[in-house]
Amino acid sequence: MMLLAAINVHSCLFVLFALLACGFAIAVASTNNVVRMAFYLTLSLGATSGLFFLAGSEFVGSMQLMIYVGGTLVLLIFGVMLTAQSRFVSMQTHAGEWVLGLMVGASLLGLLVVASLGVEDWQQKRTDSTSIPLLDAHNSTATGLAFSGVRVDQLDQQDPVLRAGMSGYLLPFVIVSMHLLVVLIGAGYMARTKRMSTSRLPARPIAAPRPDRQRNVLVTALVGIGMVINLVAAIKMFSVVPLRPLIAENKFGPAVSKIWHLIPPLDTAPQWAFVFLGMLFLANVLLLVVVWNWQKWGVIGLVVVPLLQAWVMSQGGFRAMDIGGNLAIGLLPVVLIIALLCTGKRPTMWEQME
């Protein structure tokens, strides 16, 4: 019973609805089938309306259900049905575009999460939320009155200047309703089926024949080995930071320490340099996947990454010998891959890449 008393139902429901909304949103982004996308979007928007109810804005929540789920989504589903020829139902996205999109998305998500956790005031808990009188918290009437020009929630405003500007949202409301009317008439006019005035039938797009691409055995081997080596190197780089104090205490015996001290930068270079180097090695793995999927920009990336590594190392105070060695080790296989791609039977692999 103690456990049950400790549980906060409001928070649990929030977690449930947030997981549903975010999970189905991710499902929308990850599936290729447009019919399934529409279904998942319905569920995600429904769960979001649950979040609105939990925040105490029941008017917005019900409008979300009525306008969004009941109106906009039905429109979208009609669009899906009108265009759902079998070849458009699921269209594959290129792997390269996925990699780029996910990189941008991950950095954006990181930024937004840091920003939303960054303000102290936004993390203040309201512990007395149960003591808010129910009539006070529910605001449908106030919302409706605000749309018709009366702000009942700000009647205690003393400043006469501010009172004059308190006329509510009547003008924006009228503008937005006119806007909606005009837009809907325009959309109906634009979407109607036109009889073809010219005898020209729309040209069917010719499905590009999938070229029968052949991978060179040597290139395959090089890409595979490169992935393994880069992954190991990334793990090594990330492990330098936690391992360094242990080595200093001689935890692994004298032999390991001796080998460790043979490379002075492992002791002296700043920690951030190793983190960046590890991330660049991981980028190399991703770029090899891209090259494997026949994208030319992966090869360009493979040339750029060692140069970036050299720059990071020079900022981190590595010896010239280390920088040069790393540059050579990074660039030689790339040169080899390019040479292999451009030679051999015509059409060469390079010509087949996108």
Binding site: F14, M63, G79, V80, A137, A187, A191, T193
Partner: protein
């Protein structure tokens, strides 16, 4: 920050909104079906709406945006409906003229 025993805060809502926003943006960037891009836009608008409602909620903070958060969220919902109608009309028009819904093939203006 245990969400099972402690009251939730504005930050929790902001993080949920951020996830919706980012998945919408990724959806817009990666989908080849024009309707998929539209669905991405809907997700982005929903993420923004969640933030407005969270800042206006009395249950999460003492000093809030008040009613204005709810009102702006309602305007966003209406504008999203208008935007979806127009975008869908454009997509259907494109489909009628070109017999495809793939945005990669909408390259007639390409120089």
């Amino acid at each position: 920050m245990n969400p099972f025993t402690e009251p939730i805060t504005v930050s929790h809502y902001l993080i949920a909104g951020a996830v919706l926003f980012v998945t919408g943006a990724v959806c817009m960037a990666t989908k080849r079906n024009a309707l998929g891009v539209l669905m991405g836009i809907e997700l982005v608008l929903n993420g923004a709406n969640l933030n407005f409602v969270a800042f206006g909620s009395k249950f999460l903070r003492k000093e809030t945006l008040g009613l204005d958060g709810d009102l702006i969220a309602l305007f966003v919902i209406v504008l999203a409906a208008a935007e979806a109608a127009v975008a869908l009309a454009i997509a259907l028009n494109f489909y009628n003229n070109h017999a495809t819904i793939d945005v990669d093939q909408a390259d007639e203006l390409k120089g």
